[in-house]
Amino acid sequence: MGSIASLSNVWVNYNGFTALEDVSLSVDEQDFIGIIGPNGGGKSTLLKTILGLIEPSKGKVEILGMPPRKASRQVGYVAQFQNFDRQFPINVWEVALMGRLGHAGLLKGYSAEDRHAADEALEKVEMAGYKNRHISQLSGGQQQRVLIARALATHPKLLLLDEPASNVDSAMQKGFYELLSELNRQMAIIMVSHDISAVSEYVKKVACLNRKLYYHGTGQLTAEDLEATYQCPVELIAHGAPHRILRDHPR
């Protein structure tokens, strides 16, 4: 298995505040890593460091064997949905095409290949029938699918998702996570989430992040990890789900 991303002893400081402390993480092909942790624990910072939007103050980040800024065209990124103006005059097709900006290049229009990639990406997330819809005419789940299509249009080897289900209503969440599982056959995924139960069902490995990263490269979490992450005792509940993040534990 090839290495998709590796972070070794990465520190990120902003104005004297440490957001990430000595974080090491290695991501391989086919990985589906869920990252949970409290608000302000550095989850979004970790994703932005992988994308090269934030420079680490110490340590090394390598994505697809390249520095992050060079590799970021081959990384699909789906940011937190709160960042968008839903009234912005743009339709589904135009959003999906944005994923091709890096490929199309400056001073040129989108090529036939770019259009094909955007088409394919919309089909993959089952939104091809909504191309001419304005983004405000979609449900939260559909909007999120369009943003995933935009990330897929870049033909990524690694997909980064920041709280992807926060805007998806609960009835639609199962289908949404199943889509991610399917995408995972073609690319590694790192998903940041608050939703421990969702993470437990669909991801293959789990990490806890609260400045420090607690990660064992397995789908199982320990009570110690969770306590260290949330800095308070966390009750462990084992789910009877296909993937289990928590070990069975004595009552």
């Binding site: 940011a79 103006d85 001073l107």
Partner: protein, 272 residues
């Protein structure tokens, strides 16, 4: 009105109004969707320093305004990224500093400053033909640059972070967009004046924003609205002997209020 068209000053006024409408429609749309109205106000007011310098050194004050507004645009684009000054603070500071420079320069210039009021509040009936040519050149630059970077500017306005991730040079393009705002300010100075520019940039685009769902349509509709407002304002100000720039702005503002009221009303009726 028709017999007025034979006068050179009236022909110039109408051409100036139409040229202004193109700039405010295209760039105003970006300003509104990218929430840059305050930055535009800052750039416009800072350009007063250049007007003053023109009076002091004896060149066309509009040329001075061009240099100062471009300088202010570049400063605003870089200062907030390189220092810990917030964007909000830097806008206010550049806004007032540019005005202060203008006041000092005009004070130092010998004698009386003719037409000063027209630079501040516009005077569409006295636009000289030389300024019409300048407006035409600036409009052309604006249209060519927007056509070249259309997909990047749109992406940048919708989602700057994603654009950066896929490799769009966002820092550079943000500066280019700010410079286009500076050019728009200069195009509009003769029509509505430095103090009122911000309204002509924001109002037509804000009306278009209410009922268009694509950026291109928004630009087209705001340009048409800008043309209607400047011509209607010009005609009203001539008939009622009012200040032209202020009349254009008030016509625009009333139309915006009517549009918002209409949308509110139809929505209530739909829901009833």
């Amino acid at each position: 009105m028709l017999e007025l068209l034979q006068y050179q000053f009236m022909q110039n006024a109408i051409v100036a109004g139409l040229l202004a409408a193109i700039a405010c429609g295209v760039i105003g749309s970006y300003v509104v969707v990218k929430r840059m109205v305050s930055i535009s106000g800052g750039i416009a007011h800072a350009s007063f320093g250049g007007i003053g310098l023109g009076y002091l050194l004896g060149f066309n004050p509009v040329t001075g305004a061009l240099v100062f507004s471009l300088g202010a645009a570049l400063l605003m684009g870089t200062v907030t990224r390189r220092t810990r000054l917030s964007e909000d603070a830097s806008i206010g500071i550049l806004w007032a500093t540019g005005m202060a420079l203008g006041v000092i320069f005009i004070g130092l210039a010998p004698g009386y400053a003719p037409d000063l009021f027209s630079y501040l509040f516009g005077s569409i009936l006295t636009v000289p033909t030389s300024d019409i040519w300048m407006m035409l050149v600036l409009d052309s630059i604006i249209l060519v640059v927007v056509a070249l970077f259309y997909k990047e500017f749109s992406a940048l306005s919708f989602d700057e972070e994603f654009s950066r991730v896929v490799g769009v040079p966002t820092l550079f393009l943000n500066l280019v967009l700010l410079c286009l705002i500076a050019l728009t300010v200069v195009v509009l100075i003769r029509v509505v004046g430095i103090v009122l520019v911000i309204a002509l940039v924001a109002i037509p685009a804000s009306i278009a924003f209410q009922f268009t769902r694509s950026l291109k349509k928004m630009m087209l509709v705001s340009s048409l609205l800008g043309a209607v407002f400047t011509i209607a304002g010009l005609w009203l100000s001539y008939q009622l002997d009012l200040a032209s720039g202020a009349t254009i702005i008030l016509v625009s503002a009333l139309c915006l209020a009517a549009t918002l009221g209409w949308f509110k009303f139809t929505r209530i009726r739909q829901n009833a």
